[in-house]
């Protein structure tokens, strides 16, 4: 079990763009290196990647303001 922490403060997005589906849904399998969301800060979007393999459960909502070090998801 591993929590995926936000590397940056900003806004968390679970989708690549507003009209696209989410990168991952709760319960989906992810592999290390998979993009699971974006953090927007300073006019740029930064990809958040899984750091381990497993099933993902999100702990932050789409468009939620997040702090650096805040858990975004759990990968079990």
């Amino acid at each position: 079990m591993a929590q995926l922490l936000s590397p940056l403060p900003g806004t968390f997005y679970r989708k690549p763009s507003p009209d696209k589906p989410s990168y991952k849904e709760d319960g989906d399998s992810v592999a290390k290196g998979d993009v699971i969301g974006l953090i927007e800060v300073m006019k740029s979007f930064n990809e958040v990647k899984a750091e381990s393999d497993g099933k993902i459960t999100f702990m932050a909502e789409n468009e939620e303001p997040v702090m650096a070090g805040q858990p975004l998801a759990e990968i079990v």
Binding site: P7, L8, P9, G10, T11, V41, M42, K43, P65, A68
Partner: protein, 322 residues
């Protein structure tokens, strides 16, 4: 000696105390957004206050040292690690030849200043080593750091490790942050009620906040005094005939989201400014994360000058203690 950049962080730039004297021809001040922190970092490692340091925003870089050096990290609480072992912020420590300096997650603040004994030895451009990335001027080839860069570092003098700035002298923004401001030439463009509202509202730092300017959102839109727009001004009521934008000036395009111009600001344009944040509080802005609540507090010129003096005393006190 050189420091090799393994990972650059989000946006890490070489900065010193800036490049004043060219703003009238469009080249901004640049330099550290939190000048107190940059000076303190330099003093901790035995550098002059104006030596070039690294400014890392939100996320630290990973740096490999090719020679031993003394390092200090000030400003934001971005815990430094030497070969994985955590070191204190605002305190000098040694990094040995071959060791790697990396950083933990940001705990508080926004910008960390990484001083290395000897200073970052990039060429001086128009009197400063600061990076002005928009203009590709100064710093490390005019841009933020990238993986693979070899940063030249000057020859330092030996200083003890463990030198530290007392906690009570480290200043950051409160919650909400209070930014003191002086109403300016264009204050009359908004109604009296709008002026009161601007000062009463609690604003929040938007995601669009960088070295050029800090945008705030969440307050009520401002109402303008009706007028026939003068020749040369745009049609929006927030437009003016182009004017100079001072460092710290607060423009409010369309009366909705205030923008405080900071070290890499444009020097002029056609938006009215309600006033300017006083110089003593500009360092605080550099330490504000997105979503930080903030209020604008009106002060007089006399109060602003007193605040500047107090700030200078605080900086002297830090210097005297090292």
């Amino acid at each position: 000696m050189a420091v090799n950049v393994i990972k650059p962080g989000l946006s890490t730039t070489v900065q010193d105390l800036g490049r004043p004297g060219y703003y009238h021809i469009g080249i901004p001040l640049s330099g550290a957004m939190d000048r107190l922190a940059a000076k303190a970092a330099n003093w901790l490692v035995g550098n002059k206050e104006g030596a070039a340091v690294l400014e890392a925003v939100f996320m630290g870089p990973e740096l490999k040292f090719t020679e031993e050096a003394t390092v200090a990290v000030t400003g934001a609480e971005l815990p430094p690690k030497v070969d994985g072992e955590v070191r204190d912020t605002w305190t000098s420590f040694k990094v040995k030849k071959g060791q790697t300096l990396s950083f933990d997650f940001l705990k508080k603040g926004a910008r960390a200043y990484i001083a290395i004994s000897g200073g970052i030895d990039v060429p001086v451009v128009l009197g400063s080593r600061s990076t002005y990335a928009l203009g590709a001027l100064g710093g490390f080839t005019g841009r933020k750091l990238e993986a693979g860069d070899k940063l030249p570092v000057g020859k330092g003098r030996a200083v003890k490790e463990g030198r530290s700035v007392p906690e009570k002298l480290r200043r950051g923004p409160g919650q909400p942050a209070e930014l003191r401001m002086i109403p300016g030439l264009y204050w009359h463009r908004i109604t009296e009620a709008a002026g009161k509202q601007f000062l009463a509202d609690t604003w929040k730092v938007a995601n669009e906040a960088d070295r050029i300017g800090y945008r705030f959102k969440g307050g009520k839109p401002l109402e303008f005094v009706a007028r026939e727009q003068p020749f040369g001004a745009g049609s929006d009521p927030s437009n003016i005939v182009d004017a100079c934008y001072p460092y710290g000036s607060i423009q409010i395009p369309s009366g909705t989201e205030p923008i405080v111009l900071h070290r890499d600001a444009v020097s002029g344009g056609g938006y009215f400014m309600v006033g300017a944040v006083i110089s003593a509080d500009m360092d605080l802005i550099g330490q504000m994360q997105p979503n930080t609540p903030a209020r604008f507090v009106e002060v007089t010129m006399a109060q602003a000058l007193k605040a500047r003096k107090d700030r200078a005393k605080l900086i002297e006190k830090i210097k005297a203690g090292l």
